[in-house]
Structures are given as C-alpha cells and as structure tokens.
C-alpha cells in the first residue's frame, strides 16, 4: 500500500527553485532522500508537510489528500528536523506533557517502554541530551502517538559512526512489522548503503532518481582507462568524470556503456554516483 505519494511539488524562492518533485513510498519501507547541502531536501520535506506553501503539486498520505486532511493525517505522521531541539532548557517530562495532549492515539505505556529502551531519562533537559539521544527522544514521541510515517530531516547528521549505525539499525527494526515507513534525508551516503530500500536523489531542486537502491546503483557503471581511450563520444556520454595525466574515470549510465574493450568497468557505490553527478565533467 502506498503510504506517501508526492506529485509535481514545486516551490520558487528568489534564489532557489524546487521543480516537479515526485515520488512514492510504500508501507513497510525506508526511503533515503539524498542530495548535497542546499539541494532542496528540507524545502521538499517542509513543503510536503505544509510548513512551506507549495506553488503547485499534491501530496497524498495514506491515500488521502494531505492539504485537505492535514490535522487528521498529522496524527499519524512523526516529523523531526534533526533531533528534538526546541525548548532546550525544558525537561523532557515537560515537553512530553505538552505534546501528548495533541495526539488522540497517545500511548503512555508505549512511551515509557521507548524511554527505557532508548535509555532516556525524563528528568533531563533537552540540551543535556547528546545529538543521538535527541533523535531517539523524537522517535519515542512519534512512536508513542503511533505514527506510521516517520519523516526525518537529517536525523544522522552530527552523530558519531557508532551512534549512526545504532540509529540505522533502529530504523530497520521499526519497519519490521511492515506497517511503518520512514523517509529520511541525509547527505551521508553510507546511511543509505546500510538501511535504505529506496533512494530519492534531489539535485538543484529537481528529482534525478527515485527508485530502489539496487536499481539506482545498477543504473550506473564506473568506467576508467588511459587518457587516449577517452574519446569525445565517450566523454559526451558520461554523467561525470575525473581526468589526470595518466587516465580518466567516470560515471556512465549502464545502457550507455560502450562495447569497446580495454576499459575498466566497475559497479559504483552511492557516494560515487552522487559525486560524479554533482561535479560533472571537469575540463
């Protein structure tokens, strides 16, 4: 079942334009939303949630129009920008006391269970939590009101590798029941290698790809060779390339792969795809 469908979402600012953002996310999956700083990840997420007004496009959540049913649908959505970082001087117990009143499906015993599981101490102030714990607190809040769609803006940013791995494992665990889905933005591509089922790649406000991780990686190859093997025709076909005195390497769509012998061909990782795309072909 489609839990989230975004179609043709657009937003224009003075110096930035988000164009025709479209993708879908099914129930029980994790989608990584990648792009470099300023690519439009946060704008896209905020526009989806109505925090930013779209110029066009539509969003459906659980098959219902988001804009018409925003309040009811928000009951089932957990949104977090980074970790919980509002009212840093307040104790978690106070923040929770406020938030729980807004959710009809709030479950105190589930909340206490998540506090225990994540090692969260309610008597601590928000500012006393580490970045990883702030994210976990946000997850505890979202899961306690039985959110089925978690939309997380850069939850792994600023985390040490161990905490990041810990969090990504938790993401996978959360979707195991097949009823929840996670859409999270990141610029750390290894996050996606570890836990994403689908990848949506945004660049300069445009979606370049939104597909399964395997298809995303399978769609490209890295080719390399000596400088003389870099023909103008090959150069034109490549999405991005790097050249030096000894040779070249570049990213090419699998379907555009030349039959010529002698080229080294390898499978890229997500990071390489992103880097080649972003840097293009330096002359």
């Amino acid at each position: 079942m489609e839990i989230l469908s975004v179609q043709g979402l657009s937003k224009t600012y003075d110096k930035f334009r988000m164009k025709d953002v479209s993708f879908t996310l099914d129930e029980g999956y994790i989608m990584g939303f990648i792009g470099r700083n300023g690519a439009g990840k946060t704008t896209a997420l905020k526009t989806m949630l109505g925090l930013v007004h779209p110029d066009g496009g539509r969003v459906k959540v659980f098959d219902q129009e988001y804009r018409q049913n925003e309040i009811a649908l928000k009951q089932q959505i957990g949104f977090m920008s980074g970790g919980v970082d509002f009212y840093p001087k307040q104790k978690l117990s106070v923040i929770t006391r406020v938030i729980k009143r807004f959710y009809t499906g709030w479950d105190d015993s589930a909340y206490n269970g998540y506090l225990e599981r994540f090692g969260l101490d309610e008597s601590k102030k928000v500012e006393e939590l580490s970045q990883g714990m702030k994210v976990k607190y946000g997850l505890a809040l979202a899961l306690s009101h039985k959110a089925k769609l978690l939309i997380l803006d850069e939850p792994t940013s600023g985390l040490d590798p161990v905490s990041r791995d810990d969090l990504l494992e938790l993401f996978q665990e959360l979707i195991e029941d097949g009823k929840k889905s996670i859409l999270f933005s990141t610029q750390i591509t290894s996050d996606l290698d570890k836990c994403a089922d689908y990848i949506t790649y945004i660049r300069d406000g445009e979606i370049l790809a939104s597909t399964s991780k395997d298809d995303f990686i399978g769609a490209y190859k890295i080719v390399g060779g000596r400088a003389v093997q870099l023909t103008p025709e090959l150069s034109a076909r490549m999405v991005g390339c790097k050249k030096n005195a000894y040779g070249f390497s570049g990213l090419i769509k699998t379907q555009d792969l030349p039959a010529a012998d002698g080229l080294e061909v390898s499978t890229p990782d997500i990071e390489s795809i992103m880097i080649y795309f972003e840097k293009g072909c330096a002359q």
Binding site: K46, L51, I71, F79, S81, V98, R101, F102
Partner: protein, 216 residues
C-alpha cells in the same frame, strides 16, 4: 484550543512572567504618569517571551503539531489578551489604595479612576492591533512590531493625558475621583472594554491571515 493554551502557559509564557503582574503596584507611587505602569507588561513580559520563544523555535514546534495554523495564532492572542486583562485586574486594588491615600489627586497625569482603566484597555487593544499582525507577518521579526506598538501606545497615552489635563471639560468629566463621577466615567470604561475586544479580534484575524502565508 485548550491544549494550545496549556502549551502557551507551560512553555511559551514561563510561569515567572506572572510575577510581573505585580507592576500594578507602581500605582502606589504618589503622582506619576500611571499609564507607564501598564507598559511593563509589553516591553518586559511580551518582548522577552516572544524573543525567548524565537530562540526556542516555538513557531516551528507548534506548527509541527496537529493543529491548524489559525488556531496556533488564536491561542497566542488569547494568551496575550489574558495577560493584559490580568494586569488590569491586578492593578485595581492598588488603584483603590491610591485613591484612598492620595486624595489630592495625581499631579503628574491622569487619576486612576474608571475612565483611566478604560483608556488602559484601549492602550492594550492598540498594542495588540499593531504588534501581533506585525509579528505574524514573518513569525520571527519581533523588534520593529514591538517598537511600533509601544510608539502607538505612547502617543495615545500622551494624547489622552494632555486632553484630560488640558481641556477643562474633559478634566471635569474624566479625571474625578470617587463614586460621584461614575456616570461620566463608566461609559469610557465600557467603551474601553468594547474597543479592547474589537481591536484584539481584528488583531487575531489579520495575524491569522498573515501567518497562513508564512513559510516556516
């Protein structure tokens, strides 16, 4: 709405701000421009609360909750108006003491009588009308709307003081102390209440409309 008001008074307006209502005690100063006593709520409580709220990312936090944007504004307007009414109510006992002890009247401004409180309510209504829609135009700029609100209030308070003290007919009708002056002053008090409600409602409508278009 109940939940949003709960949030306003637990998170946005720190309980310590209620102590500032004791600025009503400034009415015990002998001969003073007493309208100033009601300004502390604006430039101490509201100014601080809104700046602290911005630091705490209150707007994004609240807008992320399952609430309509206009309800978020409504809760804030109610909370502000409630504070203002509480400030007026808290000041009344001090005005009674003032009237009982300083029988010669106020040498530096208007007496703290029924008409005075009517004008105080208009001062708060005008502040709401200028500050709140000014703030909700961006939902983060506080300084300029706050200064404009205080300027409008200062001009109004000065004009009222000058008129009441300078025009003998107005002085006779509006500056007297004691129950004998009720017939002339009560209409001003009621007009003040009506204007406070009206201006605050307009402030809410304009603020909600403006906030609806703000990108967070």
């Amino acid at each position: 709405m109940k939940n949003l008001l709960y949030k306003e008074f637990l998170l946005f307006f720190h309980p310590a701000f209620f102590l500032c209502l004791l600025f009503g005690a400034l009415l015990l100063i002998p001969s003073w421009p007493y309208f100033i006593a009601f300004g502390y709520l604006l430039f101490m409580v509201f100014s601080n609360a809104f700046f602290i709220g911005r630091t705490n990312r209150d707007v994004l936090f609240t807008a992320s909750l399952p609430v309509r944007k206009k309800d978020l504004v409504r809760a804030r307007v109610y909370a502000v108006a409630l504070f203002e009414l509480l400030q007026v109510i808290t000041a009344i006992p001090f005005a009674v003491i003032n009237n009982a002890f300083y029988t010669e009247g106020n040498m530096a401004g208007m007496n703290t009588n029924f008409a005075f409180f009517g004008f105080v309510l208009v001062i708060y209504g005008l502040f709401n009308l200028v500050f709140l829609p000014g703030f909700y135009k961006t939902a983060y700029k506080i300084g300029v709307p706050m200064i404009l609100g205080i300027i409008v209030d200062s001009v109004f308070a000065l004009a009222v003081t000058a008129a009441v003290l300078g025009v003998p007919a107005l002085n006779a009708a509006l500056n007297g102390l004691g129950a004998a002056n009720l017939p002339g002053q009560l209409p001003v008090l009621f007009a003040g209440i009506a204007l406070f409600v009206l201006l605050t409602l307009v402030a809410y409508r304009v603020s909600a409309k403006r906030f609806e278009t703000v990108d967070l």
